[in-house]
Subunit: 314 residues, 2 copies
């Protein structure tokens, strides 16, 4: 049996089906039932060995988790409810130093399945290939908007406060693999509060903030002393010449969410703290274009939108 057939046999045993999946594995395409009024939200991310992970330093399960996690983070950034995911693999034909190609593939799926179950995502199909090159994994995730509609980047207004979930910086020490997509957080906030715009931090707070601001036709000021710093940002800072704040601004792969919300709504959210993770006010959208930093004295100067130039959706 070929690698591909063996993997399909494993998948047919091990992939749960979802209530809305009419046709899953084993046909030319998957067929789903829609849920009436919701719009469809689709995102795709392709991860590769050496760029997004180092295959000899991590477990296949961690790669699988990350590959699905970054896609769910994109759905979270749209305040969409996840529905299904499609997984395409190109496997190194001879496997890796520590595992055969089939075991690698199964490990990838075993990393995805717990996350898929937690977020009620059906892994509904995909495509499996092998070659002499290194591992690449492409996931397309599919969700739908709630009655509150999608949360886009372009809805920000001048004077909107910028809020961020969780803590930032130093993801390279491990958090970049243990992606915790903020799906429930985004759905809850979008349902209970008036949110104008949102984006997830994949390429760095500074760069992703400037993307949200530009999509809204505005600028943004970040209040540097207010940034919620992760322990990893401090730890990394001890090893290099960069401050924890610099790490928080540009490390990327935090997979936290930035929201632009009206001033009074921001006050309400900060008072309520309705999530299990902190929400912090980190700045605001401004008529003045560009990205700006504010220090403890309130002084402003330009801030370079540094980060990992990944490109995001497109």
């Amino acid at each position: 049996m070929s690698l591909e057939s063996e993997l399909i046999a494993w998948l047919q045993e091990n992939l749960p089906t979802g209530p809305r999946l009419d046709i899953g594995l084993g046909d030319d395409a998957a067929v789903f039932s829609g849920e009436g009024s919701g719009k469809q939200v689709v995102t795709t991310d392709l991860l590769t060995d050496e760029v997004d992970f180092l295959i000899d330093e991590v477990q296949p399960e961690q790669i699988g988790h990350k590959a699905l996690g970054v896609n769910l983070s994109d759905l979270a950034a749209m305040a969409a409810r996840p529905v299904a995911a499609f997984v395409s693999l190109v496997l190194p034909r001879k496997g890796t130093a520590s595992c055969a190609a089939l075991d690698l593939a199964i490990g990838l799926y075993q990393g995805m399945l717990p996350l898929a179950e937690r977020f009620d995502v059906t892994i509904a199909g995909g495509d499996t290939n092998s070659w002499d090159g290194r591992l690449a994994i492409c996931i397309t995730a599919f969700g739908e908007t709630t009655d509150c509609g999608p949360l886009v980047r372009s809805g920000g207004q001048a004077g909107d406060q910028l809020l961020v979930t969780g803590q930032l910086g130093g993801s390279i020490l491990g958090r970049h693999l243990q992606v915790e997509p903020r799906v429930h957080e985004a759905l809850l906030l979008n349902e209970r509060y008036e949110l104008h715009a949102g984006i997830d931090i994949s390429d760095g707070l500074a760069l992703d903030t400037s993307r949200l601001a530009m999509a809204s036709g505005l600028g943004a000021t970040l209040n540097l002393p207010a940034l919620p710093l992760s322990d990893a940002a401090s730890k990394l800072s001890e090893k290099d010449a960069r401050s924890p704040i610099e790490h928080a601004l540009s490390d990327g792969e935090d997979f936290e969410l930035i929201f632009a919300v009206p001033d009074d709504e921001a006050t309400r959210i900060l008072r309520d703290q309705p999530l299990e993770i902190p929400i912090t006010r980190i700045g605001e959208l401004t008529q003045q274009p560009g990205l700006w930093q504010q220090d403890a004295t309130g002084k402003q100067k330009p801030l370079q939108p540094q980060g990992f130039e990944h490109g995001g959706q497109a």
Copy 2:
């Protein structure tokens, strides 16, 4: 500007938007409007240099055409109407012998766009990456069923006649790149006639017929003298020791459609010949399991389901 940013800029200039695309490039995900009653049909295919094409022997436009074409062929095999496609690329950082990475990417899209326009598919987003490895391109296509429902592999019944569109064999001489997805053909046949099951020929007539039969819990007999042979099958046969029929059975990448239809309906279709390409009766589904060949004398013997073990959807 990074390669990714440059490509996004090009895409924003050059990708048409569709009437149902609420949010396209430039956000975390794309947002679509559904069309009421239709179910969602999703397929994904990942193509790689050296396996699916040889980058130094073809134009980027041909690769782009093929990558989208094979996905549309999967939608055709489900009798689904295409809606949108999402394109993820991993580009060789230094480009190819004849073009830079950005030109390669633009060439890929330029190959997709005419096909997308012909089939009313919106290219709605994707993800662009580069690495030291070779080109891989992953497309996820998204369609919806019509009122006639999806055409699945598993609906075949014993005694159903097997029909095939077009001509088979020898696709390696060029047709494997010039994929002509049989979308309109599938929609027309599914609307006007009672079709029980369908599949597209990606891995070879013998292998894909056996897949359809197995999914239906049946066997199949192929009537070898009846197979519609392409000129390319004959041409290839002159170069090697294999007959045109062998090429038609196992070459793969014909991207024609096999249908299982009730006997009287098959007669009607063959009499009407409602398509611009021929439809030919090539065999039937049988209670007897396995794949069988029938020669001109009517004698039956087992037929090996040879072809390219790709795996298809999964």
